[in-house]
Symmetry: none
Subunit: 249 residues, 2 copies
Amino acid sequence: MLKEERQKYILDQVHLHHRVLLNDLSDSLNVSIDTVRRDVKELDKEKKLKKVHGGATSFGFMTFTKDDGNIYLKSKKISIAEKTVSLLSDGQVILMSGGTTNMEVANLIPKKLVLTVFTPSLHVAMALLEHENVEVIFLGGKLLHEAKFAVGGTVVNALSQLRVDLCILGTGYLDAQFGLTEFDWEVIQVKQAMIRAAKKTIILTVSDKLHSVQKYKTCDMTSVHTLVTELDPSDPLLDAFRPFELVLV
Amino acid sequence: MLKEERQKYILDQVHLHHRVLLNDLSDSLNVSIDTVRRDVKELDKEKKLKKVHGGATSFGFMTFTKDDGNIYLKSKKISIAEKTVSLLSDGQVILMSGGTTNMEVANLIPKKLVLTVFTPSLHVAMALLEHENVEVIFLGGKLLHEAKFAVGGTVVNALSQLRVDLCILGTGYLDAQFGLTEFDWEVIQVKQAMIRAAKKTIILTVSDKLHSVQKYKTCDMTSVHTLVTELDPSDPLLDAFRPFELVLV
DNA sequence: ATTGTTTTTGCAAGTTTTTGCTGTTATTGT
DNA sequence: ACAATAACAGCAAAAACTTGCAAAAACAAT
């Protein structure tokens, strides 16, 4: 085996898994650990990867830590994401909208979970692609500059031809009386199409956004099957939603 | 056996397997290892292949999708991107593929330039969205985990309904004889559809990738209208491409 | 045809690169 | 602090490379 081959393999592995252990490499390449070490050292010198104790990591094309600064809010979102992930099961076909909460969901999906996910959100798609076992299908269309979210007829049309198990909607404004509302008309169109395309709809929202209303309406509470917040399902803040036939998580 | 024959055989082997061992060559050609060594040395000098310890590799072999961090290559790519951007004009509707070179193009687009860009690449789309005046339309479909690139029938179908001014293709492997080649069949399908959907096709490639061949063919040189490299258009390395009716930039 | 020149090829001696092994020193996690 | 693991330096064998050289083949010109 040529040295070049080995080094290419190493780089491929690094790019694929973001990190590799020298031991694993030495194992799968059938060469001594010293040889691998030397290879990695060279590649490091050539700035092709970063050598770390015991292995190597890629430089990471885009280090995706869009820290929204607010640690407090973030921990809430992680709590929501954890609950949401627990609702998923192998083999499901789901829809995911955008937003930071959905980003956390995407990040927290277990490596072994096998899913097919449709999404119109660039960020969510990017995060999902880190998971080997998740098939990601992007719903293409005109992209909104701010939200990095696809909208327009193409998306709605593609959605009209889908029938998936689950739709996970993030970043909404929720109110028991007015239902789910948004401020962007084009996003509304897409979210409505997403709800229509799914058997069940899950809404994720931090308690701060409960009882807030925006200009346009996405849907009534009756279209929602599950509501996930960072609160305990028995929390009094959720009382307003109990009259509806929905699962509180 | 003639020297020419031998060298052609060697090149074929390199193109086919992306690497060869001097020993194997000496074996199958029934000549001494020294002769093979000298042949490979010559071919290396002629930039037809890359000689390495113990054998030789094709130029495409050691090129990586994520070669950022490689300052040397990056400066070449920026040079290419600058030339490419100068070919664009207000109001155009264009197609852009993926790859790091196209990323640089996306980054270098002047803030004031008004464009409509269709792309199946997540990274390129993301970069383009930084430009207020660029309308970005993502060609949705199944995303490849590594390339973050949409492929499949949806993309090809969407492209079949387009007729745009320009198609800018990055990350290809280019050879005067074999044309534009790739190693991923699904990507080929998309790129072919992109070429069909555009009035003109521009190929971007760093000189390292010239004279390198991969498994599958995207198109002949005759489908290419403009070839952009970091080299001066009069550089002898480009001589092989002059017989074709294309613009060298 | 043959003589002289150039190119090509194989061989041999000496050098460099690569690789795995050894023992020693650093680093890490508990 | 201590055990476990990883990194490093030096060494030796094997493989690959370089250089110089001479025989063989190809070519040119008389």
